[in-house]
Amino acid sequence: MEPVRSKLAVMLLAGLAAVSPALAESVVTEAEEATINTLEPPKTGWFFVKGGWGTAGSSIFDSATGKMIGMIATGRDSDMAIDPAGKVYYVAETIWTKGNRGTRQDLVAVYDAKTLKLLTEIPTPGRLIIGGLKTNFVLSDDGKTAYDYNFDPASSVNVIDLVKRKFVRAIELPGCANLIPNPGVGFSALCADGTLATVAVKGAAQEITRTEPFFDAAVDPIFANFAYDRKRKQAVFLSYTGMVRTAAISAAPAVSEPFSIQQAAGLRAADTKPLDIAWYPGGSQLMALHRPTSTLYVLMHMGEYWTHKQGGDEIWALDLASKKVTKRIPLKDPVNNIEISQDDAALIMVTDRDNNGKVIDAKTGEVKHTIENAGGGHITVVEPM
């Protein structure tokens, strides 16, 4: 055995000698300290991608590079919102004192946007635990008020003062959910009776008004993950059959006449009958609004009605002004979530049920980055104010 050992030793030494010039260049001679990175204020080219169902954490990806640059501690089934001033991130979440049991605590956690450190927690009386909804927790345009939807199982909205960082009060809102900030008024919400309710918050009182019914919540529902353009004060609604409506948000919102996204693509409109194979919208966060061009990007799949959770095989770009589908981007694998950067780059991010993500150029359809384990939850971007 001895000669073999000697030979091995010689080989090892020879190997070390061969690589030593390369090693010398990367040798660190001084002791290092553990350091911590900080982040710039939230940028339009960032995607905040929530982990899949039951996981915690929203990864931040830079769309230009496809690289992860940080993570916000968004607990399981929490909802995140970005401070319009870019100074903090808000996370509405529910935790228990003993992990999976003990006393339930509902709160809004406030994280510093630069250090991502917890600044404070605002206790709230409850919230809907669901995950995957972007209309559960919304901020007013001035960033001073948060509206946090609660369901226990009666329906209400918690009003939170973000300046004083205090819960203000709960407003009962039977039969409605999915919130839209309504500047200078309060908020609006979609309702089971097919109306849009508007809650004018007036100090300790409120006035609730409703539009006329404009959709059937049981036959052709409007997707709860709708889009809202703060600059235009316009919500964009899409129904299971692909009917598109816009709503001018004010003290008395006005909802437009619907049109079919399939007809906007030169096809016949889809309907609710079985055995009618057509292109339908589907997924979880199935639409993204590029606000600078007022173009709606929708995940579409071929199938029958009641397949509204099926992932998209194509992305359809719908120009809301001309009511025309201007581009159809085929996808290699079905995806469930879509969002788009709110800048001229117009980079789309999509994620699938296996948590994989892609960054796609909306203008060319080219896949710019493929990101494994990006996250399977919904995606948030900085909105133009």
Binding site: L133, G175, A177, A218, V219, P274, W306
Partner: protein, 180 residues
Amino acid sequence: MKTFNPDAIGEKLLRRFAGRTSRRSIISRLGVALVAAPLFPVLPVSRAEAAKPDRTPEAKTAFARNAQTKDDTKCDYWRYCAIDGSLCTCCGGGVHTCPPGTEPSPVSWVGSCINPEDGKAYMIAYRDCCGKPSCGQCGCDNTDRETQVYLPQLNNNVIWCFGTSSMEYHCSTAIMIGAA
């Protein structure tokens, strides 16, 4: 095609629930929910066609046309037409039985599913079993007549573990309520 009448579904379920529970806080919250019930849409189509529901293959959804009645550990078992989550039949429970150590939710979302054996529609309550981590077995996500959270009794994304000692979701059962 016969569709849901959410008013009737809500009333039936809440009556069953009210007869079983003693939790004052959740009853008071359910009372508020009941106030909301008249706001749920009353579907003229369901009234007009209630007398003679169309059960021809052309009127059935893709799920109903392909559903089976033999194996309740498979996603295409007929009662699972609007279920979302892990099947309790794969987690140590049964189609109306929670696995050991878990607790059934007193409230639920519902589905209206057609039994291929007799061609009739039945109301199914998808009661979550709560109090343990997610089972993870036999994940299904069927969406016949499943709507959005503003019509919560027909939405299968809500974690329905209200009124249990823990809101932690483990799996879902599919309990027969009666003819739809």
